[in-house]
């Protein structure tokens, strides 16, 4: 077994003991959001005009946005506190480094685990979406890897960031000024065309916008050629850059 997979195995075993706690974030939240905003609020919206959301029921519009937003949240969340735990609270990273495992093994093992969590959460979310009848097109299958890619694009750079932090206070700041505004204004709940001109430009440049557009296009059966490739490329570059940055910050933090 490759060394990184040995590090991965740790998370797998630890998760077997704590998986119940993650049920809320992976399963309950999507149901609550879809029910409250999608069905409840969507009902009101659909009585007006749904032209702005592309002529589909609001629930259909919202669900893929939430899929991408959830993937981002899981990707970012799993890359903050658990990384701090590895470095400071449980020091699992240091236990690993006393064995033949190297810094990159520790990093890749953990990253792989985070991607597993994103994959699980995205899968569950798509299943819930199907149960809510919000998946009109077979293209939606491709939204699964798209959502995972969205989570991945956030996880690696956030890991790189987390490894530079001394306390978990920065994570609150990251959420307040990063993750939450992105979640609200990247086209998740309403089309960015509703924003004032210059903010539209900003919104279109955010990473979550890429994930939302990609997932929404695929779920609604309008993948959109070059645009989709552009979104995917953006996310891939962000992921790759994050991995490179994390290699540097992990080495700096763990080897002294």
């Amino acid at each position: 077994m490759s060394p990184a997979l040995r590090a991965y195995q740790y998370n797998l075993l630890a998760y077997k003991r704590t998986w119940r706690g993650s049920l809320t974030t992976t399963f309950l939240y999507p149901v609550l959001y879809l029910a409250a905003i999608g069905v409840g609020l969507g009902h009101l919206i659909d009585h007006g005009s749904n032209k702005a959301v592309g002529g589909v029921p609001y629930l259909w519009f919202l669900a893929p946005g939430l899929l991408a937003g959830t993937a981002m949240q899981i990707g970012a969340n799993e890359s903050t506190f658990p990384v701090m735990a590895g470095i400071k609270w449980l020091k699992t990273y240091f236990a690993m480094l006393a064995t033949p495992l190297e810094v990159t093994d520790v990093l890749y093992g953990h990253l792989l685990w985070i991607l597993t969590r994103v994959t699980l959460a995205s899968g569950v979310f798509l299943a819930v979406m199907t149960a809510f009848h919000t998946v009109p097109s077979a293209w939606a299958v491709a939204a699964f890897p798209a959502a995972v890619l969205t989570g991945a694009a956030f996880s690696a750079p956030v890991m790189a960031f987390s490894a530079t932090r001394e306390t978990d206070r920065s994570f609150v700041v990251l959420y307040r000024f990063g993750i939450v505004p992105l979640f609200l204004f990247s086209g998740t709940f309403f089309p960015v065309t509703q924003l004032p001109g210059w903010l539209q430009v900003v919104a279109r440049c955010t990473p979550l916008y890429q994930g939302v557009s990609l997932c929404r296009g695929l779920v609604l059966g309008r993948p959109g050629g070059w645009d989709a490739l552009g979104h995917a490329g953006y996310l891939l570059v962000m992921f790759a850059g994050g991995v490179l940055a994390a290699r540097v910050s992990y080495r700096r933090r763990l080897v002294q």
């Binding site: 040995r6 195995q9 075993l13 704590t18 449980l90 236990a95 480094l97 006393a98």
Partner: protein
């Protein structure tokens, strides 16, 4: 293991300053020093956790900078702070650690049972680590370091913070390892521990090696055979110290007592009495490593 002018710097600060030492197969070697003397930094370099800043180091005949994973696969490290996973069971902690070494599952399960027995943790095997006492956690950390049957075990202050019963149990386990031919490298600031466990040791002070040898050699070289401790009425220690200075090889005046370093404690004490000095308490004892250590590194607090 061989170190020549081994150096470790953190920015401007030199934690380990050009030290030389050799550690032979099967011996128990100690690094003695106060907090901040450079023990842990030295240890981390030996364990290939920390790159060396200068000099040369060979561990198990290999180069830590190049062969890190290979060296680490043959050593067991017991760090100071027990990085155990508190949410997992005792058994899982051992099992997972073995998996990091890539040990096959079946063989590993047998090894884990052996180690649970060795660490006297069989009854707690399937409980979480969280509620275990400090002594149990330390035993678990040591057992974990042994999972790959290493030929070299590095222990960083193995008994700090443990009660006497727990310490003696640990020492017993370390003797057993030594008998099995495992090389032990131990850092400690407990002199009795160093005297008990180490065949040879070095005393570190401010990143340098102040003295090296077996506990006996160090005492012979740096102290006298015996020490007479005298306690006088308040304030008189300096005066008495000056008056009795010629009766011993060395006299040390402390705020609460006077130490006379001499080879014949009883004879010195008789001489003290015959001069008419009447201490309120007198004690003749053998020199210990602690006397050597304090002589070499001074009595002032380091931090």
């Amino acid at each position: 293991m061989q170190a020549r002018r081994l150096t470790k710097c953190f920015g401007e600060f030199t934690a380990v300053d050009a030290v030389d030492f050799d550690i032979h197969v099967g011996e128990a070697f100690g690094f003695l020093g106060a907090n901040g003397a450079g023990k842990t930094s030295t240890m981390r370099m030996i364990a290939c956790l920390s790159p060396i800043s200068g000099g040369t180091l060979q561990v198990l005949g290999l180069d830590p900078m190049r062969d890190g994973p290979q060296i680490r696969s043959r050593i067991g490290l017991v760090p100071q702070d027990d990085p155990l996973d508190l949410e997992l069971t005792v058994r899982d902690n051992l099992y997972l650690y073995g998996r990091y070494f890539g040990l096959p599952k079946k063989q590993l399960r047998e090894r884990v049972d052996e180690l649970l027995e060795f660490a006297r943790l069989t009854e707690r095997a399937d409980e979480r680590v969280d509620p275990l006492s400090g002594g149990m956690r330390r035993r678990l950390t040591i057992a974990r370091a042994l999972v790959s049957s290493p030929s070299l075990v590095i222990l960083d202050e193995p008994t700090t913070g443990l009660d006497p019963q727990a310490r003696h149990l640990l020492w017993d386990r370390l003797y057993r390892l030594k008998r099995e031919g495992v090389t032990l490298v131990i850092t400690t600031h407990y002199m009795d521990e160093a005297e008990q466990l180490c065949d040879r040791l070095v005393v570190m002070d401010a990143g340098r090696i102040a003295a090296a040898g077996s506990p006996r050699e160090l005492i012979e070289q740096w102290s006298t055979r015996e020490v007479v401790e005298l306690r006088f009425e308040a304030e008189g220690h300096q005066v008495h110290g000056d008056r009795l200075a010629d009766l011993a090889e060395r006299v040390e005046v402390l705020p609460d007592r006077l130490l006379l370093y001499t080879d014949e404690g009883d004879a010195t004490l008789d001489a003290v009495r015959s001069r008419g000095a009447s201490p309120i308490a007198a004690l003749v004892r053998r020199s210990t490593l602690e006397d050597v250590f304090l002589h070499l590194t001074g009595r002032s607090l380091v931090d």
